[in-house]
């Protein structure tokens, strides 16, 4: 065997993959739900960014699709301990959506059709770290996985990637979301195993 291992030019070999602490590998895509799956007609769908200055920026479905999109391949880590590697998405980077948004806010609260919320620092949504994703594995994102569009923030536990996302509120103060007010960690970094409050 040469000095270049056989995995070097090929696909990442699973046995070489290092998972965050406490996670196990899965190949299916488990669905966890805290409520009924919202059904949103694309003619009524909109995404909004609300600033701390009281301004709202809105995108209709055709307006979202008209924006330049990216096709990130990312690893997903769920707080319930499964990880799924190399998932392929298509969506609009939050950097694109934030381009003309004037804000000095440090915190963001994502809110969804159906009432779900989750909070994170605004900086975790910027610099190529987050997308409004509308395709998964080449197909329209299914409702059970958060379609028509979900937030995708793969460097945090998956509960931060709000399904059925409807908007993001930018705030000067942190506002804990649905699971963050019920014992889950405020930030949720899988590599530091921040599952619960106090971790």
């Amino acid at each position: 065997m040469g000095i270049v291992s056989r995995g070097f030019f090929g696909r990442r070999r699973e046995e070489d993959v290092k998972l965050p602490p406490g996670q196990y590998l899965t190949h299916d895509f488990p669905v966890l739900s805290a409520g009924p799956t919202p059904r949103i007609g694309l003619d009524r769908w909109e995404f909004a960014i609300d600033t701390e200055l009281g301004e709202t920026h809105r995108w209709s479905w055709p307006e979202l699709l008209a924006l330049p999109s990216e096709t990130p391949t990312v690893d997903l880590h769920c707080v319930t301990k499964w990880s799924k590697l190399g998932t392929g998405w298509q969506g609009v980077s939050l950097d694109v959506l934030m381009e003309n948004v004037e804000t000095g806010a440090e915190y963001a609260l994502a809110y969804s059709y159906g009432g779900y919320t989750t909070n994170l620092p605004l900086e975790d949504l910027l610099d190529g770290k987050a997308w409004i994703a509308y395709k998964y594995d080449g197909d329209d994102l299914e409702p059970r996985h958060g379609g028509p569009a979900r937030l995708l923030v793969p460097h945090l536990y998956l509960w931060k990637s709000a399904k059925w996302v409807r908007g993001i509120r930018l705030m000067n103060e942190d506002w804990p979301g649905f699971w963050e007010t019920a014992g889950y960690h405020n930030y949720g970094d899988p590599w530091r195993e921040q599952r619960y409050q106090g971790d």
């Binding site: 739900s33 805290a34 409520g35 799956t37 699971w179 019920a182 014992g183 889950y184």
Partner: protein
């Protein structure tokens, strides 16, 4: 489409960890719409990441229960009250 929730009897075990009485027999009043009914009739999603019990009338969250390794987090903000039947006290 398949039903993706269980009825409130699914709460009996997890709440039984906390309460000496059977809370599924309690009458809860929804803070969202005012409907009253037994906890056993709530629509329960979960169990992971947590149990989320919703009002069968308006689908708002009535009760949430998250079990972490060393604590139970119970949120009853969505309930105006829980009327829990108790053994009658003698005077």
């Amino acid at each position: 489409m398949s039903i993706d929730y269980l009825d409130g009897n699914a709460l009996a075990g997890p709440l039984g960890e906390l309460f000496a009485v059977d809370v599924t027999a309690a009458i809860g009043t929804c803070a969202g719409c005012g409907a009253a009914g037994p906890v056993a009739a709530l629509q329960v999603y979960g169990p992971e990441p947590g149990l989320v019990a919703r009002c069968p009338s308006c689908e708002e969250v009535v009760l949430r229960l998250v079990r972490t390794p060393d604590a139970a987090w119970l949120d009853l903000r969505g309930a105006v009250s829980l009327r829990i039947p108790m053994p009658e006290t003698r005077s």
